[in-house]
């Protein structure tokens, strides 16, 4: 466990070391729809750019109205934390991400870059064709960049490694369905985040060692079970806070949480189509849940499967994808009588007020639990 936490804490050193060991290139990406398999097959390490707050006296010059996630991403480039990144890829996704990409490229014009169109309407009949075409474009770009042709065998290998990674992480999630799970939400989230900046072959080895150890652990304490919903996350501070007052996040509906691992690439002869279909078929993120909504059903399913007592919705201030989806999430939670607490935050956690909110929610949820269990 600590190995993942320490990689997550020292993620920049991990990537620098990976570069030294492999001689490969590191590619930064922002959005969970980025088809990492194609980069990995080209020998590139895809690293998710994660927010972390540091004093910021520069981003205001180029940004306005952005969520703090994207400000902090750009700030870290300015501070030199991402000096090992060789290239950046931007997807058709949230516009503040686009803006972070855009201003980063202005300040660091020598970075390799590419814009990959990922359909905003993932359920459309032609979305798979256009994404397939975009994947072949980016594959060629990677080949030009690295000077190396990507073979089918390399794509197959990348698909297998990524699918294995998803399966292993799903095992972690399954352990959290148990009563008194052996793993806490904060531990699981640190693994998830470390995994997103790691070489998946290395992460898989570590997970294969870790999961049997976890299964041998004694059951955890009785805790109120939460689902965490909202803007993507970049640390496990909120989970730790919830644990500090008697709760446990047993499941999430976050783009870089369950959304990252919930489905696999189903192998097909047309590898790029297979990869594209996996991304189109993944649980919709808020921005891509456009026509007939799928996201509320997914949230409900997760809530039932993981037997949650209550929901926490943590939304980033200025996060318009979640600002436009909250209505549907609230409606669902109200209809299904799941108690919830919504709060807005930036990349730092407003600790005391969040704690008060969570404690109040636990109080409400416990009343229901007490009655359901026949406790007095």
């Amino acid at each position: 466990m600590n190995k993942f936490s320490s990689i997550f804490e020292n993620r920049h050193d991990y990537a620098r070391d990976w570069k030294k060991r492999s001689g490969g290139k590191v590619l930064g990406y922002y959005c969970t729809y980025f088809p990492e398999e194609v980069a990995y097959a080209a020998g590139i390490l895809p690293v998710r750019i994660l927010a972390k707050h540091f004093p910021d006296d520069t981003t205001d010059r180029l940004m306005y109205g952005n969520c703090y996630v994207t400000r902090d991403m750009f700030n870290q480039f300015n501070l030199g934390h991402y000096d090992y990144i060789d290239g950046l890829v931007c997807l058709e996704s949230c516009q503040w991400w686009y803006n972070a990409f855009d201003v980063t490229m202005q300040v660091f014009p020598n970075l390799w870059s590419h814009y990959l169109f990922t359909p905003d309407y993932p359920d459309g009949n032609r979305s798979k064709d256009v994404l397939r075409s975009e994947l072949s474009v980016i594959q060629k770009k990677f080949e030009e960049w690295t000077g190396k042709t990507v073979t089918d065998a390399e794509l197959d290998n990348a698909i297998e490694i990524y699918n294995t990674n998803r399966r292993l992480l799903r095992r972690l999630y399954e352990l959290r369905r148990f009563n008194n799970p052996v793993i806490l939400g904060s531990e699981a989230m640190e693994i998830m985040l470390a995994n997103q900046v790691m070489d998946k072959a290395e992460a898989n080895k570590m997970l294969e060692e870790l999961i049997p150890e976890l299964e041998d652990r004694a059951p955890g304490e009785d805790r109120v079970r939460f689902i965490l919903i909202g803007s993507e996350t970049y640390d496990a501070e909120l989970e730790k806070l919830i644990e500090g007052v008697g709760g446990n996040v047993v499941i999430d509906d976050l783009d870089n949480g369950s959304g990252y691992v919930w489905n696999e690439v189903v192998p097909l002869k047309d590898r790029l189509m297979a990869i594209g279909l996996r991304y189109l078929g993944k649980p919709h993120s808020a921005l891509k849940d456009n026509v007939w909504r799928r996201r509320p059903e997914q949230i409900f399913r997760l809530s039932e499967d993981f037997q949650v007592d209550a929901a926490i919705i943590a939304k980033q201030i200025y996060c318009h994808p979640h600002g436009t989806d909250m209505y549907a999430v609230w409606k669902l939670l109200q209809e299904r009588k799941i108690p919830y607490h919504t709060f807005e935050r930036d990349t730092t956690l407003p600790y005391e007020e969040t704690r008060l909110g969570v404690e109040a929610l636990i109080h409400v949820a416990k009343q229901g639990m007490t009655r359901a269990n026949g406790w007095s």
């Binding site: 109205g65 979640h322 436009t324």
Partner: protein
């Protein structure tokens, strides 16, 4: 002429027609609640105006509705936004959208009449994420049919093979929407008129370029406030093409005459500034205030959007149509609905694939040069995304070419909450004075 007057002025004659058009538009909204026509939420379908070819479709764009609400009643628009926010919609969402759909949740309009509930919704995805998501407020209220249309984009070098795939995606989305509307509502799309209008579209869209070029003249023949009104009426309200065609022609004739005779919008014009994207509709009087300094707004990339995709020719000193991708078929050979859709979307390539974010920023300096501006007032809106994205970058680029930039902050043009009007005017005073300008009227 007063002593400070540098140019002759004259009221615009076309205003009466514009007012009649506005009344016609409002009436069509009111009627649609009562008549049997289908009501389409969001008529902003991008490059292909398929909405105009269903005879039983009324279109209400939420943007002009929301803008109108904000400018006419702060009380009602606040109430509407609150109705939206208490249901979970975030505060950072575009004020227009919150106003319009908040009234939907309340169930009535500003005048107390029943809110005209929509029968179908077709939001489109770019240039602003709010466009992608805003159709959901009416879609979530009741299970009305809804469609998504992708607006594929990319940055970087031109790639014809890549374009082809992106264009075909848009062609498919558009054809699917039309066919589904025909099937679900048992109604017919008027292919003949659609194809015919595409053949004459060039002539109509040239109007925008002509107006844009006329607006570069000194003195400016129209004020920006006038232009916004005409832009909203002529572009966003989705009036029938024959009505709009006549209106545009009359407008151009009048502007041309004014330019030929150096009839100014503002008689003491001695300083030209530009803007970027929408202004606070309820407080357009700041433009009048600036006229005391002889400062005239010549428009923005937003108000000149009616010209479509243009580029600045540094030699002829004119804005010209930009065509990056030529359709495979000539317009004369466009025979079917599919041909027509593909034709329009192929031609739109240069304009629409990564247009907004890219051109808005990279071509703002051409715009400033073309219009010969000395200053730029760039709003920073906290709500919405499309209305603010790249604004700071624009400011830096303009400053670098010697244009003096003033930023001011507010919520969003559809939301008065955070705009401190007094402070804004103080900022203007300071901005003008530090450029050596004093009030002259």
């Amino acid at each position: 002429m007063s002593t400070n007057q540098l140019w002759e002025t004259k009221p615009l004659e076309i205003w009466d027609r514009a007012k009649a058009l506005r009344a016609y538009w409002q009436q069509s909204i009111d009627d649609s609640a009562a008549d049997t026509k289908l009501l389409l939420a969001h008529g902003n379908t991008g490059d292909v105006s398929w909405r105009d070819y269903f005879s039983n479709l009324n279109i209400i764009e939420d943007n002009p509705v929301g803008a109108m609400m904000a400018s006419t009643s702060d009380e009602f628009s606040r109430k509407s936004r609150l109705a939206s926010e208490v249901r979970g919609w975030g505060r950072e969402i575009c004020g227009y959208v919150q106003n319009c759909w908040g009234a939907q949740f309340l169930g009535y309009q500003q005048d107390g009449s029943v809110f005209p509930y929509r029968d179908l919704s077709v939001p489109f995805t770019d240039p602003c994420d709010q466009h992608t998501k805003r159709g959901q407020q009416c879609m979530d209220l009741s299970p009305i049919p809804r469609w998504g249309g992708d607006w594929p984009i990319y940055l970087g070098e031109d790639d014809p093979a890549r374009d082809k795939e992106l264009i075909e995606t848009r062609v498919w989305c558009t054809l699917k929407i039309i066919a589904d509307i025909e099937r679900i509502f048992d109604t017919e799309f008027d292919d003949a008129s659609f194809i015919n209008d595409i053949k004459t579209e060039r002539e109509r869209s040239d109007h925008g370029i002509r107006i844009m070029n006329l607006m570069t003249k000194t003195p400016s023949p129209l004020s920006q406030k006038d232009l916004y009104s005409f832009y909203t009426l002529g572009g966003l309200t989705r009036l029938p093409p024959e009505i709009l065609g006549d209106f545009w022609q009359a407008l151009i004739d009048e502007i041309q005459w004014r330019a030929d005779h150096q009839i100014a919008a503002v008689g003491n014009e001695r300083y030209r500034y530009m803007e970027a994207h929408p202004s606070p509709w309820h407080f357009l009087k700041y433009m009048r205030y600036l006229e005391h300094y002889g400062a005239v707004c010549i428009g923005s990339q937003y108000s000149q959007m009616m010209a479509g995709s243009v580029s600045w020719n540094k030699e002829t000193k004119e804005f010209e149509r930009r065509v990056i991708r030529k359709p495979e078929k000539d317009v004369e050979n466009v025979k079917t609905r599919e041909d027509a859709v593909r034709y329009v979307l192929t031609e739109a390539r240069g304009h629409r694939f990564k247009d907004d974010e890219y051109f808005r920023k990279n071509e703002i300096t051409d715009f400033a040069e073309g219009f010969g501006v000395q200053g730029a007032i760039l709003a920073l809106w906290r709500g919405g995304v499309g209305c603010t994205l790249t604004r700071k970058e624009q400011g830096l680029r303009l400053s670098k070419m010697g244009v003096r930039v003033l930023h001011y902050e507010g919520s969003q043009p559809g939301d008065r909450t955070d705009l401190d009007e007094k402070r804004f005017l103080d900022q203007i005073d300071e901005w003008m004075e530090c450029q050596g300008l004093q009030k002259i009227s």
